[in-house]
């Protein structure tokens, strides 16, 4: 144990720059994936609610896609997209879209009909009802979905290292190949802390979006 601690300390002493570079890469991949997943998940969620008939097919499709292990998606995307950032991001987006999509649909459908009808009755245009009423009221559930997705993204971004996209996964895979516990610990704990931190930030947003309930 003593030795491991010493090895960890030594690692940070000698590889500070490399560590922070990998951390930055990891955050970079995660945020890129999150951005795309929110864009796709939220807009598809809105479309699902607008075009109700198609909803079950879209949600079902993503439910199935979600079961496919991200490693498999990653390997498949190498075939079509090669190695590097592109396929890694693609694979992770597949993983992150379902919770965002489903929570967006649930949040939008949870807004009571009478609230939408009164908003129309006051003279809001359909667009104004979406922006001022429906989306803000769905926001807390959407953020809960985004939080779930974020944790999954940060954790799974580890495998991006396998196809040369960098990130903290590099430390873990290096540790695996040379059987060094200190590297495994550094990589694993860093990923865990990062995931918790991101979740905490989204938590703050969620609480802000629900401030009327805590008032």
């Amino acid at each position: 144990m003593q030795e491991t601690w010493a090895a960890i300390a030594l690692y940070f002493e000698n590889h500070t720059d490399a560590y922070f570079a990998m951390l930055r890469q990891h955050i970079g991949i995660s945020l890129r994936v999150l951005f795309l997943a929110v864009l796709i998940g939220v807009s598809m969620g809105i479309l699902c609610v607008v075009f109700k008939k198609q909803q079950k097919y879209v949600v079902g499709l993503f439910q199935i896609l979600r079961i496919v292990p991200s490693l498999a998606v990653l390997v498949l995307s190498i075939r079509f997209l090669g190695i590097g950032m592109g396929p890694a991001v693609t694979a992770l987006v597949f993983l992150a879209v379902p919770p965002i999509l489903m929570n967006t649909v649930a949040g939008l459908e949870e807004v009571p009909f009478f609230m939408l009808e009164t908003s129309h009755a006051m003279g809001m245009t359909p667009f104004q009802v979406w922006v001022q009423v429906r989306l803000p009221l769905a926001l807390p559930l959407m953020l809960a979905g985004i939080k779930t997705a974020m944790v999954e993204i940060v954790a799974s971004a580890t495998i991006a290292a396998l196809i040369g996209a960098g990130g903290l996964g590099q430390i873990i895979f290096q540790g695996l190949s040379v059987r060094r516990t200190d590297l495994l610990l550094i990589g694993g704990v860093s990923v865990a802390i990062l995931a918790l931190l991101m979740a905490f930030l989204i938590d703050l947003l969620e609480r802000w979006s629900l401030k009327h309930k805590y008032a």
Partner: protein, 259 residues
């Protein structure tokens, strides 16, 4: 009614049948409502009273017939513009939970691009009008208010841009008996001071007779009688109206028996 009465709302041969229904929700309704009247629409569920109300601000459109608002056919007018000129209050209130009371009251003024000071002053004025202390309530959220207080805010919000017509769909239906009586009295007082036309839907005969200057009794989509409360009680137009009044008298007997 003097001779100088203005027609506020006119329904001409209005029919409405919902998709997949084999009956008319509103069946040949023909009514003229004058400016400044407090009209109550009385009927049981499925009588078409809410459908008639919702056609007045185009939440529903009639299948045939026409509805005019101060001479303007609302079918030919811009739907958003029509609605902004009509106050709308419903039983579930429908305050937006993520907005403070001030912002809720300011919804329509903001749509009409009033400036901030004017909206704020209007919100305070309206809160006072509906009997809520402005300083206490203006920054609160709807969830911090009781049902009765919420409905007062609902009224204030509907009155925000001083609409000439107010549509009220069982606004006191979910409020306890004591508060309901208070709110009825205040609504009556409010109507007296405002010179607005009120259309008030209810299934409570006492409420309908107490508040209405005239009462529309509806059954199966048709208007059974449209008259003053006194005339309705004295000369019920048909068996349905008669049975309504009879049921009310039965209740009175129950009270007399208990007292």
């Amino acid at each position: 009614m003097g001779e100088n009465t203005t027609t506020a709302i006119e329904y001409q041969n209005v029919y409405k049948r919902f998709k997949d229904a084999d009956y008319y929700a509103v069946n040949n309704v023909d009514l003229t409502i004058n400016e400044g009247e407090f009209i109550t629409i009385l009927g049981s569920s499925g009588s078409g009273k809410t459908t008639l109300l919702k056609m007045t601000n185009r939440l529903y459109d009639p299948d045939s017939g026409s509805i005019t608002l101060f001479g303007e056919n609302i079918q030919q007018a811009d739907v958003v513009q029509v609605r902004r000129k009509i106050g709308y209050v419903i039983q579930q209130v429908g305050l937006l939970p993520h907005m403070t009371i001030a912002r809720n009251i300011g919804i329509v003024p903001r749509l009409l691009k009033w400036d901030k000071e004017r909206i704020d002053a209007r919100a305070r004025e309206l809160l006072a009008l509906v009997g809520l202390e402005p300083d206490t309530f203006i920054k609160r959220y709807p969830s911090q208010l009781s049902g009765g207080q919420q409905q007062r805010v609902g009224l204030a919000r509907a009155l925000a841009v001083d609409p000439k017509v107010m549509l009220l769909d069982e606004p006191f239906g979910a409020i306890d008996a004591i508060n309901r009586l208070n709110l009825q009295d205040e609504l009556k007082r409010l109507h007296g001071g405002l010179k607005k036309t009120f259309l008030f839907v209810t299934h409570d005969i006492n409420e309908a007779l107490k508040l209405g200057t005239r009462v529309i009794v509806m059954n199966n989509g048709q208007v059974c009688q449209f008259d003053t409360p006194a005339n309705i009680v004295r000369n019920p137009a048909d068996g349905f109206v008669e049975s309504l009044i009879h049921s009310c008298r039965e209740q009175e007997k129950l009270w007399e028996g208990l007292a």
